[in-house]
Amino acid sequence: MLFGYSSEKEKYIFNLSRINKHIILKTNDLEIGYKSKKSINSISKNINISLEKGKFVCLLGQNGIGKSTLLRTLTKVQPKLNGTIFFNNKSIEKVNQLDFSKQVSVVLTERLPESNLSVYELIALGRQPYTNWLGKLNEQDIKKINEAIELVKIGHIKHSKYYELSDGQLQKVLIARAIAQDTEIIILDEPTAHLDVLHKMETFKLLKSLTKKLQKTIIISSHEIHLALETSDDLWLMTNDNFKTGNKDILIENGELEQLFNSDLIAFNKDTKRFKLKS
């Protein structure tokens, strides 16, 4: 398909992707949903992902389409219904919880239970997969924690209690915790949901920079389509009967974004890369 009507740009991207291609996450005909004794509630199927290391990926889709379910399945929080998931060529079921925690870290939407943890202690918990039975931090752990604090620029609040923070600060702390966990992949479920426009942009920029500086692979779900189009490398587009992945420019070119919302109200403009209300 690529060669059929390929532009120069597409050719370039295609060739680039053939060199140095390290597939970090791969799924085959993945089906996600909820299973109980009586019934199976399939939310989405035929999800085929092939993700390269070091990409910044945005998962886009309408409310209730199953973005969180997909991320929860990829992070082993809930079991898949069918298909396979491979991280670094290893099936997700064959990796035990501890080893998995050294590969994938998460930032979840759920609120933290109220406790007395300080920012530093919260970030330090990210080192748990590496510490001994008492959770004692060694030099390497402390170095990683300080690096994470530095990267996210939250040194000035590291001794605060986390319940004293604003939503924007808390989100940075949670991202720092995930960085301190020192995993190849970070998966974030709607990390910008409660933030103002400045903090939204800041978060996207920060995540993008992590892929550049630390070669992390970052997957986020978001409703910030315009920011996602600006900053991401790849997009995952989730609709009722379809799951498309790929480079964002190709997806735009192929008119896939048009399909994202099944509505007569809005339309996608390829040139401005923006959704507009139909007049």
Binding site: L98, L108, L112, L125, L134
Partner: protein, 342 residues
């Protein structure tokens, strides 16, 4: 690093308080014994009156040790429940474990009339201990089975509450059908008591207590990650099911044995973790576990001193003391701080 220093200071203060209050506890009682004589009898020296040594060594000393075990054990159970359920109101009472132990004793004391015959064996302290542990264990097993079916910790908390009211209801029925004499015996057990243990009973108590406490080393790290919620804990490589079961087993061992030997003592398991968190201002279990144990022991020793003030002819029930003096203190502290955390 600064914080580390303040923890050390607080620890030194509470350890010194523990030692002082422990000696105070041993030297005070309805019989006036000079402090010097108390200490010499502790170290097996020459004492003016033999009865003094007898009182100190065979009554006050085991009672003080019991107070330490009861206070620290119940407080640890409370801390574990609060972290597991991420709910500041959780405690051994809430999970129905204490009521389970009460049910065991109630069945023994009140139900004996229905069977008859074995009363002399049944009313020994060992018989009561066995019945209470069995009751605690039964309720806990039921909660555990439910816990493995229900993922949500809030549901487990409610299931625990339901088991608690179920056992209380059965106890009420038993009380209704029992004789005045049996009722009196059960109610006296319910008042709680630290002073009825012989050295041999105390040694069994201590061994089982130590088994429960030593299991704590397995869960210090998981407890801290549970502060972020179960999903985060899981993403940090923690085996949630194993941790949850370990916490429930430790709690049942400690609560079961304590309730068996000293009655259902209220308030301590719920309140001491909060008091300790107010002093130490942390949620880190590496600090909290030893701190909660020490504060719990101090509180129990103080309650015991109050229950048998030298001027009083009678001993007050320990259960009433812990609630009467402890509850207002906690209410005052919480109002002043306005917010409580797990």
């Amino acid at each position: 690093m600064n914080q580390q220093k303040s923890y050390t200071t607080s620890f030194i203060i509470i350890i010194i308080s523990l030692v002082i209050i422990w000696f105070l506890n041993i030297s005070l009682g309805s019989v006036d014994i000079p402090l010097k004589e108390v200490i010499t009898s502790l170290f097996n020296g020459e004492v003016t009156k033999d009865s003094w040594r007898n009182i100190v060594v065979n009554y006050r000393l085991p009672k003080a040790i019991t107070a330490v075990l009861v206070g620290s054990g119940l407080s640890i159970s409370g801390l574990l429940m609060q972290t597991l359920f991420r709910n500041p109101l959780a405690g051994p009472f809430v999970l129905g474990i204490s009521s389970g132990a009460s049910l065991g004793v109630a069945l023994l004391i009140l139900g004996v009339s229905l069977i008859g015959g074995i009363s002399s064996l049944a009313f020994s302290n060992f018989g009561m201990a066995f019945a209470a542990s069995l009751g605690a264990f039964m309720v806990l097993s039921a909660v555990l089975i439910a816990a493995n079916k229900v993922r949500n910790t809030m549901s487990i908390l409610i299931i625990g509450l339901m088991f608690g009211s179920l056992t209380s209801a059965i106890i009420s029925v038993l009380i209704y059908f029992s004789s005045a004499e049996q009722l009196q015996q059960f109610i006296f057990w319910g008042f709680g008591s630290l002073g009825n243990l012989s050295w041999s009973e105390l040694s069994i108590f201590s061994i089982i207590y130590l088994i429960g406490i030593s299991l704590l080393v397995l869960i210090i790290k998981p407890l801290n990650s549970l502060l972020l919620g179960e999903n985060y804990a899981k993403s940090l490589g923690i085996n949630i099911k194993k941790t949850r079961n370990l916490i429930l087993v430790i709690t049942s061992i400690l609560t079961g044995i304590i309730t068996a030997f000293s009655g259902p003592i209220a308030f301590v398991g719920l309140a001491v973790p909060h008091l300790t968190k107010l002093i130490f201002n942390t949620s880190n279990h590496k600090v909290l576990i030893p701190a909660v144990m020490i504060v719990g022991a101090i509180l129990m020793l103080i309650a015991d001193i109050i229950s048998q003030l030298p001027s009083l002819e009678y001993m007050l029930p320990i259960n009433a003391i812990t609630s009467l003096f402890g509850a207002p203190i906690v209410i005052w502290l919480l109002i002043r701080k306005r917010k409580i955390y797990i």
